[in-house]
Symmetry: D2
Subunit: 319 residues, 4 copies
């Protein structure tokens, strides 16, 4: 499906940055009139799997990247720890990645450092939400405090002024509906963020139906591209989003959630059986792991860059 | 199954170090006369899953920790990048972790820095193999170069002299069989490593049956605990290892391998359907993700340490 | 002056943690009735110099650690980037280190993660100040916002509950005088922080005389040890602090400030002369650099752990 | 002298990457027919001082960067720890930086990862030496082992194939003279490295006069630019290098060495006096520290991006 991953011209075992810019590619996905999809990844391996499945962009989820590390979605990892994980993802895939930037990790100054470093590492865009550092996951509790609008607009402007590539995408996430402030406040904020320079608006909802989102979309009337995250209102047919003129749908956390089930079953089975027999045929082969991470490229590179190896019998000196 | 994880006395969202020492716990697993099992983990989340499945120890695999990052098993991540991932694992579980230390990341001096830092971060033991930095996965190619015995013994001694806790376990991995040097060389190396201070010997094989391993075990005659990794000879019944007096079996990479299959299926399904409908019921719930990473502890801590929150209507000042 | 540095029992090139606990040592300095002094360091090398000068404790300054990296004292480095720099310091000296923890890098939860990680890496104590993240240096601007007292007490409690050693010292820094809130507010805050569990109070002032500090000390009447930072009121004789019953004086930034002058002069001289001639005799020798970082220990360790090296003429294989 | 530092258009507190490429700037310094000078820096602050002194390029010394961390010049820091320190330098100055890359941190594969990451972080070039990982400082011991020529040429090719900008400079450092292999071997290696793609040759010597270097230069006859490091033969007049057609002189470690003397004197003085009185006038002012790290830019940015601050009396909610 994706010839590029194992066989492409990766001179370093790191997916190439050059060629079609990932910044431009993400911008195209977000701004094109047709509906786009971003698929969640939480590490380098899951990013590769997203690419092989044929998606054209990755959502680097804050929730799942934290959870994979064993952490809560409350800024327990520092922004540079997050950056390190994101860099593995960017190196593992040639797809553009939209980063879940939480609140931007502090004030405008932290945002501009974060945005600058994202760009240098090849991350194509960031989404920041109008809450305060340290954040709490949107699906937890009621009535979380929102940022002052003007202060948050400062974060947006600072982020845009710090991008290393004109194509870099900054998405402003409106939490007003989730926090219980109503539609008018959500629209007021979206408009302010748009005028502050946000390239798109992510309107978030934790309702089990899309009504609230669709009402927002109608009132918003495509003043800027709209991004949605149908984690809670998953049963809504995608055609509805197309008709509503939504720009981008994020499938926000499902790879990690499927991995949990699989790993738990595998761990239980091995624990019970004290044996691999029932498991062996059900899991990917070691060879397939080698393929996924690109061992073929390394072998090819060894032929290019390494002298012929000493034969087994040769005296081997310590490194 | 494991009450400790979500409800235990974790004052920081980090599993406690105190109480029964993890160093002592790993030592007991490795040295006890009964057969022990270590289950692979590659990040904080999979370490939690190992704990919940009832295992008493974790194998932090070099292959799968690298692969999760999207990297090859060839020391592409630096030793401190590896250390960072290991620290997430140590913080996510209260189980003792045996670390796959590859070749020790250089010479004796690199080994002692690595061992010292592992101990400080609560990793209970390390396994180092008698090859040269940078390493190649044992299942790749033929006749990989081995380290000079005396030089490798220096790495073992240096490691043992650098442990921060007397219970820290250093396992020496013998690659002589895999590299095609034969049984006599394997035994000669095991004996040398044992005398240099290794707490246990890991004898590795890539044959599809356990014959070679069992022959080694007979000749070795329990001079020190034996650890095995039946990835290739998975069909051997575990009773055989018990009879052979093996100390510890490592299930080395199966959680990652099962996650790959699950994530690939989920990604494909969502890509095809452009919908979450078929996937939603098959994956862990968001609430279950919250439980796994210990959100309950954080909520409890907020009640203890945070003043009552301002109500929704309050003026919110920027951080 | 300090035999321990180059010749001590450092099996890893990292100063030993064992023996007399650094936690206990810092606690003794802070709580003893005699006046103690902590000297600023900003990296491993300056920490070694503090030790060789005979000081019994190090102040890891936020201002100078940031400035050495080229950053401003405004939480531009993430808390884990700071932690990395602190770990180099802890490894470079056997002295106890009191860490300038700024505001604690967020809320109570960030504080407890920071405190836990400090302890694991051998940092003996932390000072946190009653301002908001991200911080601004105390000597900049007027009327900086202070933290809510109750919220800051939550940070103190959370920090104390997360220490890995009973000796760990948490100092609460009162910014009320600097922020213009007056003596009564400063005392009210100090009392609250003390009751919340702070081991000592740092009372900060930016006046050019010590009057304000001394008035505070009189009113405080040693309810808990007092720490001061006479950067601005440097001309006050130290005998005054002894008489006032001050516990600890921090010389907060002078090594970096002296290094700036020296490096600037050296750089200018070499730039003008296009020659090292005038500089060579004025700077430390390369051999002295080797001594400071402990090369002797490494050479000794090579004799212990490395086989005799191949002679120059031997065939050398690639690592 | 350098208006750019405190007043330039640095939107993030990070020196801008755009404008004249630093890759091109370093290439020009190394390849131009006139003699160029690179001045050592070991952290962000010293890099700023190099820039303010009027130099046109920075040498990020392995010896002094390690020593500043308190480490020995023996690859005790991992390559990503080194990278983190280099990134601070690159962010602190707009000058091009030539990185002392030691041996490249392993084999060809480690070199290509290192080179790729250097480029992404704005480091303009790297120098790698023909020894084995882990390295030993060139001024220590006799007859250090050299790399196999063909293997080292593989590292050079791999590095050049991994550069992110055509201007990136790779300098190959020949250790043959220092290791006692003589002039013919040095020339043979230089020629091989040049043909493998090195942009320049660094010929290193530990003699106290420049004779050996000059003899090499004559024989080399400018087949590629020559770089030298007159640390040991410091008394040679620079005019001699101009006449010999040397391309670039590296003043390799003198800022750190001058800082050591200054910090030691300051520490001793404060320890003896228990007072800052003698020291205060001799060190840079706190205000000067603020200027050096660019506080003015941050204050200006606050006016641009932050809403007017709440007045002192306002209720302040916790972040």
């Amino acid at each position: 499906m994706n010839d590029a991953t194992p066989t492409g011209p990766r001179s370093t075992g790191i997916a190439p940055r050059s060629g079609v810019s990932r910044f431009a590619a993400l911008r195209r996905e977000i701004t094109s009139p047709t509906l786009s999809f971003l698929m969640e990844a939480h590490d380098g391996l899951s990013a590769k799997i997203v690419e092989e499945a044929g998606f054209r962009g990755v959502w680097a989820s804050g929730l799942t990247t934290s959870a994979a590390l064993g952490l809560r979605d409350s800024n327990e990892a520092s922004w540079t720890q997050v950056l390190d994980q994101l860099e593995y993802m960017a190196d593992a895939t040639s797809l553009p990645i939209l980063v879940d930037g939480d609140t931007g990790h502090g004030n405008f100054n932290n945002v501009r450092r974060f945005v600058r470093k994202l760009g240098e590492r090849g991350l194509a865009g960031v989404c920041i939400e109008d809450k305060l550092f340290p954040k709490t996951n949107s699906f937890i509790g009621e009535g979380q405090a929102l940022a002052d609008i003007e202060e948050f607009c400062g974060r947006i402007k600072a982020g845009k002024d710090s991008q290393v590539d004109d194509g870099f995408v900054l998405v402003a996430r409106v939490e007003a509906l989730i926090a219980g402030h109503g539609m008018a406040e959500a629209l007021r904020r979206a408009e302010a963020y748009h005028r502050a320079g946000a390239d798109a608006i992510l309107i978030h909802s934790k309702r089990s139906t899309a009504e609230e989102i669709l009402a927002f979309a109608r009132a918003w009337d495509n003043r800027a591209p709209l991004v949605i995250v149908p984690t809670m209102y998953y049963a809504t047919p995608t055609s509805v989003y197309r008709e509503a003129g939504i720009s981008t749908v994020i499938w926000a956390n499902h790879l990690l959630r499927s991995a949990i089930v699989a790993m738990r079953e595998t761990a239980s089975r091995i624990a019970e059986d004290e044996s691999l027999m029932r498991v062996e045929g059900q899991v990917a082969s070691v060879k397939e792991v080698f393929r996924l991470v690109g061992n073929a490229e390394l072998e090819e590179a060894e032929r290019r860059y390494l002298p012929a190896r000493p034969s087994v019998g040769a005296v081997v000196l310590a490194a």
